[in-house]
């Protein structure tokens, strides 16, 4: 609502102008400082704080910091930058003679703090008001109560109003002489607020509080705890989905190569790495030649990463793997060798340290939904993972390449007899799987360190996902990734990250005993070996 803000600003400006043109309470209060007696200073202070003058806040702050100076009966303000200002006119001043700071004692200091709290509570900037309300909530200073009530009465912003109400409730709850009915209302407000701070306040009621109040507070605290547990669980579910999407991205390419050819590609993680480094190169180029395109860098990197990783994949298939069909264990070893070479190659070219991959502006920040905090880059990755999954599903279902790949997966020799060039399908499927790993690398470059070891971190997890979900079935990969992601995040609060991971690994090892071909095994008639 920019128009409303402008109207407000104009309004505030008008008030300030009228106040400074004719002698108001502000101008009348100023000479009182000249006496430099504590009692006069305090009167002047409260008058200025309540004046609503535009410079009131700066004056009170200056008094607190000892920057309010006195010289020849005139009051000057030394700004933080060091320039002197005549407090009455607001103009820069150049007084002659000695200047000394106005003295303060503890009493004045307390009055200054309270005045500051109420001044910022009434500030024109909603963010300042919100911060002030939060500060009052923490300090629970009874002196701020009247200012709070005034602020609540004229508050227009719903968020700030809630914060102010919460602060008022906190003060009333800890104020010894408040009415019990008021305190009960305060408890209700705090319960509605429902965060950790409110909970702490409700559970630390003084021991001499009346029993009905203690009971009300206990009920309210319980209600908050339930709600917090709910949001916490929801947040964990989100973390689970987010981790699951990362696993899905890393594993889905593997599901294709492993699924069609039964080839264990240990260099799969390095395809992810190639994608991430492609992103790095694209961003460096954009930084050098077209900085304006930076926000689009990921979209530029996606097709390039697909091409780069896919090309490497096809080269691997044509150069090494096709000689090893039917010997899966040897394939495993050879691709492991390839992964070592690719890692060292990248290390030689780009250096062993992490490379900086930037985050476009639209991906930074977080979406706050009441108790949840969802960062935009995670949201983007979740959406991206599911889009990649959907596109792959469509490719496998509705394109001729998908049809051929599925045919070769189900029965290689029959497919060959039907005229499908299985060699070519192998190479293309391998390229597709590697390319998908490459675009996964673009996404993962946003949340992980882009280093030569990037791929190593994902390879075991991806295998777990594919083996758990079942080979040759994309849905299995989806279910596998989401299950493992959720289980990991569910275990984390209880067992810690490392122990949780160990538990998951053991669970998968045991699971494979039950279903050696994964959750969604392809049904066939062939007896293996």
């Amino acid at each position: 609502m920019p128009s409303l803000r402008i109207v407000l600003q104009v309004f505030v400006l008008l008030i300030g102008m009228t106040a400074s043109t004719k002698a108001g309470p502000y101008e009348e209060a100023l000479p009182k400082f000249a006496a430099d007696s504590y009692a006069d200073t305090e009167t002047a202070l409260s008058a200025i704080a309540n004046s609503g003058h535009a410079r009131a806040l700066t004056v009170v702050e200056a008094l607190r910091d000892g920057r309010l100076l006195l010289g020849a009966g005139q009051v000057y303000l030394k700004e933080v930058s060091g320039t002197l200002i005549d407090v009455a006119t607001g103009q820069a001043a150049n007084p002659t003679g000695n200047l000394k700071p106005i003295r303060v004692n503890n009493r004045v200091r307390r009055a200054t703090e309270a005045a500051l709290g109420s001044l910022t509570l009434l500030s024109a900037d909603p963010a300042t008001r919100l911060n002030a309300a939060r500060a009052v909530f923490r300090s629970r200073d009874v002196a701020a109560l009247s200012a709070l009530e005034r602020a609540i009465a004229q508050e227009s912003d719903v968020h700030v109003r809630d914060a102010l109400e919460g602060a008022r409730a906190a003060i009333i709850l800890s104020k010894p002489d408040a009415l019990i009915s008021d305190k009960k209302a305060a408890i209700e407000i705090l319960e509605a607020r429902g965060d950790q701070q409110a909970l702490a306040l409700l559970t630390t009621l003084p021991s001499d509080a009346p029993p009905e109040l203690v009971k009300a507070a206990g009920d309210a605290a319980e209600g908050i705890q339930t709600r917090l547990a709910f949001w916490n669980a929801l947040q964990n579910v989100w973390y689970g989905i987010s981790l699951g999407s990362v696993l899905l991205l890393a594993a889905i390419g593997l599901a294709i190569t492993f699924g069609t050819m039964g080839v264990i590609n240990m260099a799969h993680g390095e395809m992810v790495m190639i994608g991430a480094y492609t992103t790095f190169v694209v961003q460096e180029t954009i930084r050098g030649y077209a900085p304006g395109l930076f926000d689009a860098s990921l979209f530029i990197a996606l097709p390039l990463a697909f091409l780069a990783a896919g090309t490497v994949g096809i080269m691997i298939e044509r150069g090494v793997i096709r000689f090893l069909y039917g010997r899966p264990l040897e394939t495993l070893l050879a691709t492991w060798g390839l992964s070592l070479i690719l890692q060292q190659g990248v290390r030689t070219i780009f250096g062993p340290t992490n490379r900086e991959v930037g985050t476009p502006a639209w991906m930074s920040g977080a979406l706050e939904v009441s108790g949840l905090s969802l960062t935009y880059n995670r949201i983007a990755i979740v959406i991206f993972a599911f889009s990649v999954f959907a596109v792959l599903l469509l490719v496998m279902r509705y394109t001729s390449l998908g049809l051929y790949v599925r045919a070769v997966t189900q029965n290689r020799r029959m497919a060959a007899s039907m005229g499908i060039r299985t060699n070519r399908i192998d190479a293309l499927a391998f390229g597709l799987g590697s390319g998908v790993a490459g675009i996964a690398g673009v996404a993962l470059s946003q949340i992980d360190n882009v280093s030569p070891n990037l791929g190593q971190g994902y390879i075991i997890d991806s295998f777990m996902v594919v083996v758990f979900g079942g080979v040759g079935n994309l849905w299995g990969t989806l279910v596998g990734a989401m299950t493992l992601g959720a289980a990991n995040k569910m275990l984390e609060p209880y067992a810690g990250a490392v122990l949780g991971k160990i538990v998951i690994l053991i669970a998968i090892i045991l699971f494979i005993q039950r279903r050696p071909r994964g959750l969604f095994a392809l049904k066939g008639r062939a007896v293996e070996a």
């Binding site: 000689f323 010997r327 492991w336 070592l340 083996v467 050696p516 293996e528 070996a529």
Partner: protein, 380 residues
């Protein structure tokens, strides 16, 4: 086959070479004058001892991979477990000589503010108990793991992947400080073994000779196993598992037995390795290590036993040289080795050597007879 086959030509060559090494290395190190061309410097003895331990580890992998077709990508775990059992014994031997001078607790436990020795450390101050654990801990883990895996017929790459998951899980577990195994620092700062100081050259010579002896014994055990009827069934399982099962053999029992024996061998290798290198830490569990040791076997020649020993020695010597001279290129060389061996020499050095030898023998043997000048004698 009878027990006679244990001492065939290959065995005799291997054993006499090992015996020669067991005699020569200590003699050249201990008796030759330092500085002379024949002298073997002190730091080389534990290095060679390390290679010998790796050779024993490779032997254990060849037993299951070469003869039973089980590709374990987690054999480093059994090696490391044996090493940890030995390390725990050596740790207890330090006694009050640690930095914190605690009478019972090892340094890292004092550092973590532990008050009592955890129960699983009990007994490790007794050497025979520790040696029993060197065999039992890897053996029992392999038995449980194998029993689960083979009973439900997890084979091929699936087995490889879950063995990898096993060693990965163990690595994560041992990295945790509160597991009671020293966290990521592992166990180190050992002082002596059975009262002999580990730093002294003579202890190292003895450890070297013991390692060679263990390798020889392990080799004989494997040779005897694969030569027996048991070994013939293993090969049958490797070549046609289902058919063997249909013939009435309980395939899973055979696999389980050989897997457990192999794990115990790996444990012994680890136990000998630790006092010679002076440290054991969780990185020994890293999946990459386990994969690397498979390539030693492949380089030497899988299913030959002697090849595993040869491969371990050659690759590790190469690694030492590369990481010293051309550290940048070691991973290129290792990776290239993986690809080259699987693509071009599936039978390894030994297999390739044998092929050349046969060919040469045939060429030599056919030369005297004039009729072979037509070139028909050469085997493709």
């Amino acid at each position: 086959m009878t027990t006679q086959s244990v001492l065939d030509k290959q065995s005799i060559v291997v054993l006499s070479l090992l015996a020669a090494v067991a005699v020569l290395v200590p003699v050249l190190n201990g008796l030759a004058v330092p500085g002379s061309a024949l002298h073997l410097s002190d730091h080389l003895v534990p290095l060679l001892g390390k290679y010998i331990c790796f050779a024993l580890l490779a032997l254990s992998v060849d037993l299951i991979w070469g003869y039973c077709g089980i590709l374990s990508l987690g054999h480093g775990a059994f090696f490391a477990l044996g090493g940890y059992a030995m390390g725990m014994y050596l740790m207890r031997q330090i006694g009050p000589r640690g930095v914190y001078a605690h009478p019972v607790l090892p340094d890292f436990m004092v550092f973590l503010n532990w008050k009592d020795l955890p129960w699983f450390w009990y007994g490790f101050d007794v050497f025979p108990f520790a040696m029993l654990m060197v065999l039992l801990v890897p053996g029992i883990l392999a038995f449980i793991f194998g029993w689960l895996a083979f009973r439900s017929r997890v084979t091929g790459v699936y087995l490889s992947i879950i063995t990898q998951a096993m060693t990965y899980a163990l690595m994560l577990a041992f990295f945790r400080n509160n597991m009671g195994f020293g966290g990521n620092n592992g166990l180190t700062d050992f002082k002596d073994i059975l009262g002999f100081p580990l730093q002294s050259a003579s202890t190292r010579r003895v450890l070297f000779v013991l390692s060679v002896a263990a390798l020889g014994a392990g080799y004989l055990l494997c040779r005897w196993l694969v030569g027996s009827k048991f070994g013939k069934v293993l090969v049958a399982v490797r070549d046609a598992e289902s058919r063997t099962r249909f013939l009435g053999y309980r395939v899973e029992h055979y696999k389980l037995a050989v897997f457990t024996i192999s794990a115990m061998l790996a444990g012994v290798a680890g136990a000998l390795y630790v006092p010679q290198v002076g440290i054991i830490n969780p990185s020994e569990f890293a999946p990459a290590n386990s994969i690397e040791l498979v390539i030693w076997v492949a380089v030497g020649g899988r299913g030959t036993l002697a090849g595993a020993i040869l491969g371990a020695l050659v690759v590790n010597a190469g690694k030492t040289w590369f990481t010293g001279a051309l550290p940048e290129f070691w991973l290129f060389a290792l990776g290239g080795l993986f690809i080259f061996v699987t693509l071009f020499t599936p039978r390894g050095i030994l297999g390739a050597g044998q092929g050349l030898w046969e060919r040469a023998k045939q060429m030599l043997g056919s030369k005297p007879s004039r009729s072979s000048f037509s070139g028909g004698g050469v085997v493709p």
